[in-house]
């Protein structure tokens, strides 16, 4: 942690402080996040709002995925739930951190932290913990709204919930890392929203969040398959949609192994980008 040349002059800092400070950052960041009204609205409540809009708009429409005899099928609220959960994972990580960290770069927060003995890793821990806390809260709220407001029946099998847990955690962590990497892109805190929002909005449209993925043209499905959101949404569909819906996926199956592989790949790409692009300040601006 200290350079060898200054080891004699600078007394070493206690071991374990990186983790201890990271935990302290989680509390600090989470508190500050929920006091910021606009991000709570646009990131935290947005998927819940969108689910409500779709559920209400299609409330009189026919069920989706009915059997040839007219039985079975699910409501539109049930159909949209997995997409909204996936969107929430993406927004909490990529949109939230992409804008938040670019803003902190612009307003001097990072400069102050960079002049203090806070380890970069503790800072990242704080951001990820904050995102995880808000994403979990968001998912619980989404599930409650779906279950009790729109009468969506939730899975009861424990293995479905295990799938939910790993897809969710893996997806949120990947989103966080990509958000941190993306925060290097905007040239100023003010332009961050303009840079980040179109990217996540476009991804949501092509990845099966708002539009039925199986009805998109094949080439667009292929483009979307490069990005992680499509796989997050697919993972969530495997949890919340009936088994019969797997046939509508491009390969005719949920492909959970691929879901994990693509998210893992993006996690690694994100980590590498963070390693090379994150700086407390641009030294020569």
């Amino acid at each position: 942690m200290t350079s060898s040349t200054s080891a004699s002059a600078n007394p070493p800092l206690p071991a374990g402080r990186t983790i201890r400070l990271g935990l302290s950052r989680i509390g600090y960041e989470t508190k500050a996040y929920f006091r910021q009204g606009d991000s709570v609205f646009f990131t935290f409540l947005f998927p819940i709002l969108m689910l409500s809009v779709f559920a209400v708009a299609f409330s009189t429409a026919d069920k989706i995925g009915t059997n040839p005899d007219g039985g079975g099928g699910i409501s539109w609220a049930a159909f949209y739930l997995p997409g909204m959960l996936a969107a929430g994972m993406l927004l909490s990580g990529v949109q939230n951190l992409g804008i938040d960290i670019a803003g902190e770069k612009g307003d001097g927060t990072l400069k102050r932290l960079g002049g203090s003995p806070l380890p970069v890793f503790s800072y990242f821990m704080g951001k990820m913990g904050m995102v995880l806390a808000s994403a979990i809260g968001q998912a619980i709220l989404l599930l409650l709204v779906a279950r009790f407001l729109f009468d969506v029946s939730l899975p009861t099998e424990p293995e479905k919930w295990m799938t939910f847990a790993w897809v969710f955690l893996f997806g949120v962590v990947t989103s966080c890392v990509l958000g941190i990497a993306l925060s290097a892109l905007p040239r100023s805190g003010k332009s961050a929203t303009a840079v980040v929002i179109p990217i996540v909005l476009l991804l949501q449209f092509i990845s099966g969040v708002y539009l039925n993925f199986s009805q998109l043209p094949g080439w667009l499905q292929n483009v979307a398959s490069i990005f992680p959101l499509k796989w997050m949404a697919q993972g969530m569909r495997s949890v919340f949609l009936p088994e019969s819906f797997a046939a509508a996926e491009p390969s005719g199956a949920w492909d959970l192994g691929l879901v994990a592989a693509v998210m893992g790949l993006w996690l690694v790409i994100g980590l590498v980008l963070c390693r090379f692009t994150f700086r407390w300040i641009r030294k020569d601006s």
């Binding site: 942690m1 200290t2 350079s3 040349t5 200054s6 004699s8 002059a9 600078n10 007394p11 070493p12 800092l13 206690p14 201890r20 400070l21 302290s24 600090y28 508190k31 500050a32 996040y33 006091r35 910021q36 803003g103 902190e104 307003d107 001097g108 927060t109 400069k111 102050r112 960079g114 002049g115 203090s116 003995p117 806070l118 380890p119 300040i281 030294k283 020569d284």
Partner: protein, 296 residues
């Protein structure tokens, strides 16, 4: 390194951005426990110099040693010994004064008690207020508090009292004097020359990236710059004379005019007067250089 080594050593420090040279070969030292004021007009290179020493910017050439460490390679343990009050801050401030200070206190191995710091900057009444709801001067006091919380050996103060009312400035000076008594080394930049005179032991004056003078506060500009000025009026005309013997001059004026001279005053140039002259001379010299270059 030992405690008698200077806290800061700067030799032939240079920083250029593209074709523009912001700092052009500056050298100085700051002894332990000393308060050194860096003075100069906007854009003279003060902040660039201080940010190189804080580790925020890399120098183009020259040497810099801060608490025995090259700031370009300063690690966390080195940063834990510094206190930095930056010139501009504009954070979102969604935490209270107390939350912010308690949080930052954890970063340091031996922080000052949060209560003590809040009292020292006079924010007791505001400790549970969100920082974004504070006035500009109050936020500045939080900045100062954050600079002090880690009990720094070396404190950087970049225009610390901007936005303070006169009373807050006085109490800030008291606070800094207390730190000086505790042995804290301080590097201060300020636009308020009275502040530099109140707090500084020595000062350096920077203009256009060069150090044009350095010395004890009461010796800056040389003895000649501090020669008293006698001013008086005769029949509406203002007279001014610089003299080492002002009382003799006044006595002569009294005997010549046979009474009290009109609007008489004896003025000893303040640090501000001396400074303005130094900087003005440097600007005139720079302009002359440019003109000579253009003529060539």
């Amino acid at each position: 390194m030992t405690d008698s080594d200077p806290a800061v050593i700067v030799r032939e420090l240079r920083k250029s951005y593209g074709g523009f040279t912001a700092v052009d070969g500056i050298s100085f030292e700051i002894q332990r426990g000393e308060t050194f004021a860096l003075l100069g007009p906007n854009g003279a290179g003060k902040s660039t110099t201080i940010e190189i020493l804080e580790g925020y910017r890399d120098r183009s050439s020259g040497e810099a040693t801060v608490l025995g460490t090259d700031p370009e390679r300063g690690g966390l343990a080195w940063k834990a010994r510094l206190g930095i009050v930056l010139q501009n801050t504009g954070e979102a401030g969604n935490v209270t004064v107390r939350e912010q200070l308690s949080h930052f206190a954890r970063f340091y191995p031996n922080p000052r008690p949060v209560d003590e710091i809040i009292a020292a900057v006079g924010l007791e009444a505001k400790e549970t207020t969100l920082i974004r709801k504070l006035s500009g001067g109050q936020r500045r006091r939080v900045d100062v508090a954050l600079g002090l919380i880690g009990r720094p050996e070396l404190l950087f103060l970049d225009e610390p009292t901007t936005g303070f009312d006169p009373e807050a400035r006085r109490s800030f000076w008291e606070l800094i004097r207390g730190l000086k008594d505790d042995g804290t080394t301080i590097l201060l930049t300020t636009h308020y020359l009275d502040e530099a005179a109140q707090l500084g032991d020595r000062a350096g004056v920077i203009a256009a990236g060069r150090l044009i003078d350095i010395g004890r506060i009461d010796e800056i500009g040389g003895a000649e710059a501090r020669v008293p000025i006698v001013r008086w009026r005769t029949g509406g005309t203002l007279h001014e004379e610089r003299t080492h013997e002002p009382a003799t001059l006044v006595a002569r004026l009294v005997s010549e005019s046979g009474g009290e001279p009109d609007s008489i005053e004896i003025v000893r140039p303040s640090l501000e007067d001396v400074y303005l002259r130094l900087v003005g001379d440097a600007a005139a010299a720079a302009t002359a250089d440019l003109a000579a270059e253009a003529a060539r």
